[in-house]
Symmetry: D2
Subunit: 372 residues, 4 copies
């Protein structure tokens, strides 16, 4: 690889001593996640937003696509400039895997918000997403961008030649953070995840099923029998528990995730309710200690005693986790809530980006939740 690449790879170093600036581009700036990236990165203290691309648009002002961002002096172009330090990609599955190699050649760090770099096993792509991954070699280098799980690996990318982050899906983020302390303690014998999401998770494309008149005053399940996010959830739980895999048939007591998402009449927010049958009896006090310890130093995760609402974290990178034991049935309930477009997408990607570039992890993500 080129000299340029080598010099860029020291992403955390700024010999001048001045506040560090990172030149950032966004590919796929016209969707909801793209808009959220622009909103947050335009106010990030260390970022120069030098390029936006999206869906067949060129020279369009950002306000033409995202009316709320019309006061920003930014245009969407057909191409990013050559000298970007980092590229966020918010694209349909399969697209980022095709574009990433060229960007890596140019020395850019890749923060992909789609699924193309989340899964380690190339065989998962045809199985869950219906395409053959074109670069299994890059999958090996990619880090799953959940900082609470992989902080050290993300930080190590500061000095790596190639930096690829597969930012987690919206459901896996809330689910994995709710379950991690139980998984690490080997406590999950059986698992049902019943999740609820606002409609922004379905994207911005005009579909009849997402019209206001269809969504308001209604709730429905979808993705019955196998939502794609199961692949990530099982991958990360397996990694934590140190097991080879989670094939439910292979081993009694092995975790197989029953995952059911619902479409809720709201725009932002995910609540993931994880119903866990534990491997052994446990007390509420033990659960409380487990969770308090797990998250005491996390800047964005708060363990709460009462049932959290998605509105408690709207417009912020915060996650709230609640855990409780049903003494009558012996089952554990672990709930996680997030804003699907922030901690579930753009915010979390920026959190990983900060680590990859040696910036403070919370840079650009200090906003408090918005309520009511």
């Amino acid at each position: 690889m080129s000299t340029t690449l080598t010099s860029r790879s020291h992403r955390g170093i700024d010999p001048s001593g001045r506040p560090r600036r990172v030149r950032v581009g966004i590919i796929g700036a016209t969707g909801y996640v793209g808009g959220e990236l622009v909103r947050l990165l335009a106010r990030h203290p260390n970022v120069d937003l030098v390029g936006l691309t999206g869906r067949g648009r060129d020279h369009d002002p950002i306000g033409g696509v995202h009316q709320h961002l019309a006061t920003l002096d930014l245009d969407i172009h057909a191409e990013l400039p050559d000298d970007v330090d980092a590229v966020f990609m918010a694209l349909p599955h399969g697209a980022a895997a095709d574009l990433a190699p060229g960007l890596i050649e140019r020395g850019a760090a890749i923060i992909d918000l789609g699924p193309d770099f989340r899964l380690h096993d190339p065989g998962d792509y045809p199985r869950w997403y219906g395409f053959e991954h074109p670069r299994p070699d890059l999958l090996e280098l990619a880090v799953y961008g959940l900082p609470e799980f992989h902080r050290a690996e993300l930080s190590a990318l500061v000095a790596a030649d190639i930096a690829i982050v597969g930012a987690p899906g919206c459901y896996p983020t809330a689910t994995l953070l709710a379950l991690a302390p139980l998984a690490r303690a080997g406590l999950i014998a059986d698992l049902v995840v019943d999740a609820k999401s606002g409609v922004s998770g379905a994207g911005r494309e005009a579909r009849a099923g997402l019209l206001y008149g269809e969504v308001n005053e209604s709730v429905k399940a979808y993705g019955i029998g196998g939502h794609r996010h199961v692949a990530e959830i099982e991958q990360e739980l397996a990694e934590i528990t140190g097991r080879e895999g989670l094939d439910p048939g292979a081993n009694p007591g092995i975790i197989a995730v029953d995952f059911l998402p619902h479409l809720i009449p709201m725009t932002r927010g995910i609540l993931s309710a994880c119903h866990v049958r534990p491997t052994r009896p446990i007390t509420q006090a033990e659960l409380d200690r487990l969770y308090a310890t797990a998250y005491e130093d996390e800047p964005f995760v708060t363990v709460v005693a009462n049932a959290p609402a998605t509105k408690d974290v709207t417009a912020s990178n915060h996650v709230r986790i609640h855990v409780s034991l049903d003494e009558r049935t012996g089952r554990i309930l672990a709930i996680g809530v997030e804003d699907n477009l922030v901690k579930g997408a753009a915010g979390q990607a920026i959190q990983a980006f900060n680590l990859v570039h040696g910036l403070p992890e919370t840079a650009g993500l200090e906003q408090l939740p918005l309520s009511p």
Copy 2:
């Protein structure tokens, strides 16, 4: 009991041969369920709505409480007239148990929409509702008013001296109808019920947590660790399965219901997602047959192949049930949707009332769902 009572007890007979008229009163007409009873009964072809009472009001026109019903020429009074044939009660728990005996004395059939006559075991009242039931003898007579479960017993009340119906709770209705075919076939080994309800289920009293600004754009769980409706669900499932009880500790494999309700930003509607680990492997085809057979003759229950939305049944007495097997995990998902104020409350109570009075079961309940 009196001659009057005896003559009234032949609820289904109209010797004149004219269309049957029933004189109906409502106690507790000022809440949401009360309003829904008025809305439906005012258009019921066999009902004369002869009395409404509610919350310290007297001589108030119905439109003062329920603005949408202002065109009805009905007032709320402090007392019902003496000669009512049937009384619907929509009251906080404990109140109906106190009022029912006097009404029974007067020969009226009782359709209680609260929990006071739903549970057969008097011990369940202090345990789940915090009060001692004043008339355990009446509990023995009361019929759980889910026509799809107890049609024959409800119809038998036509000729009974005393007719008491404990109309089911909103969550149990959707949940029990979703689970019944599995329960009857002895297929439920393990059960998690994750339910979602619109806010009208929480009633009409002004509480800060139910303000629009708190509810919209948010979802949260509540009743964690023991919602009261568990008692009904377990009672009815136990009755179906023929087991003594459902104490999860007593017998491995016995059903204990893990039930978690959520508050959804919508007004009407309940979706109950029942995650069932079956007692034996089963195929989708077998499930389809089981459900088709169970509901083929039911006027208000429809089995659907695709995930139903609560909006599919809004403003109607319909329930839609979906069942599917997750082949990967072996678990069964059974979903029921209803309008919590109709099939989950007022409509179902009227359905039971029709049976108790020998009227066509669907009388006054023919409305099609309202969408969008």
Copy 3:
């Protein structure tokens, strides 16, 4: 015209003495208005719904298009049967004008819910709708289907060879009913109509601007500077006031309607706030008398003392009207609320249909409003 036509034209006569049946077809049954027509007509006591057509579908069950109507045993076909007595059309502008002549030939009454038969002046079509009307001769025969304005003309169609009803637009209905008593009394000197509509008025086609994520938690004006419904409003106000026209430049003091609609984050409902500067000072008592007299015998219009909410009339054919004088400024506020899909579309069309066929005006429209 044929004998068949002649015999059909006596729409109100049923020599057999049995309850009158009308064979009805719907062209354009797949949109929101079409669905609402099906919902109401399927329960109309005098209607046999013999044919449905819609958007390139053939042999599709109604439940495939309108999931809430899946329990009806009705299919959508490419063509209506030949022997329909009446046809409702819910089509984009221009389409009904093309189809109507053929249906009239076959003797069917036409109830058009689009604009093609609302305006009397053929010149209004190119001006407001951008097309030349193909049959100005039929425009002369068409009756504007607002029964509160044109009841006698609608009833006269019972015996007419050709029956064409141009059912009013959603905004004009609420607006005209709010203004009629003032207009008849010659009291309108200056008029601003500021209207608010739920999104179902924009139809069911997938458009990005109507996605839940765009509509919820937002309000915006649209149609600035000339919404098409102005044409109807001015036509009917001019007819009432007896003036040649309402050209604001022609005559000081002549009514020109400033009409501004807004898109509100709700599905159903229109509220039209009419700000009127009166031609002379007036008292509240006089206004009250004027409105009470105007609407005392109307089955669907209620004058209310307090500000009405759209929810007061949801799912019903009711309209509520409020009028009040601002003593400080001397201006009159007249407010009308309706369900845009019922009284603003399908319900009103059925009301007109009833008159055209000599049926009771309220047949099939007795539903009470739905709230909460």
Copy 4:
């Protein structure tokens, strides 16, 4: 007054040269506006939030009242500390007028978000708010805190002994900014303001009419015949136009504001539609120039060519203004949209506070709007 007061009154001077810090207290931190003040001030670069009080609470953590702010380490106390530099008050009318004098004695700048210091004429308080103002002398000193109207006067408070800001009401902000260019040009002959607000403007107190079930899927007008915000709107328009007053009877052609607010099923946002009959014919081009000139240097006001939605400015201090001429009727439509809790309350108060303390006007208010 005391030496302390004098030294504090030089609010803009920091002799040390370090970044300026201001010690800020909030009285009334428990309502929606109070919560929004905390949310914004906790992230304000120049503010130390040293005290919060609210509704009978003492030592309660902020998260107990505002769950979304639970990660802040702030408690609510019965009293503010003595040495606050500035106090924001978000209280029911009448309360701030009582508390302000004591705080002024202690040298604090007062930013009142209620109406107690908005109106210059003491006679307006009994008339519009039903109480006698206890300190008319302070009314004379108070500045109406709309920076776009009174920037110089607000900045002059840096050096004043007493600094009192009456931050504008939510409706007047959007309305006045929409109308100002027309008013300054003497173009308003007749004015109807038809405004729409989310429910957060009604506050956080539990009232049945604000329950989700009542508000969703409904719209209604309120405050018919004289909302209190009319007083502010007329005061400021009169000041601009240089007229003595706006008594509609006094002078033909004088502005009297017909103001009608509506409750919209959304949480945040106000849209004010101002229907103006101009004093003389005008062109769209002239309007465009007028508005462009008026707002070209304003940091928070943007003039837009298309109809703005409230969602375009949610969670930000931005206002968007649209103006258009209806050539057919000759009337001008001027629309303003804002987030009622930010530019309509807390954000605008902070903007004024910044000016009063010699801070950059946009400090702490740089957030971009949140959408979807």
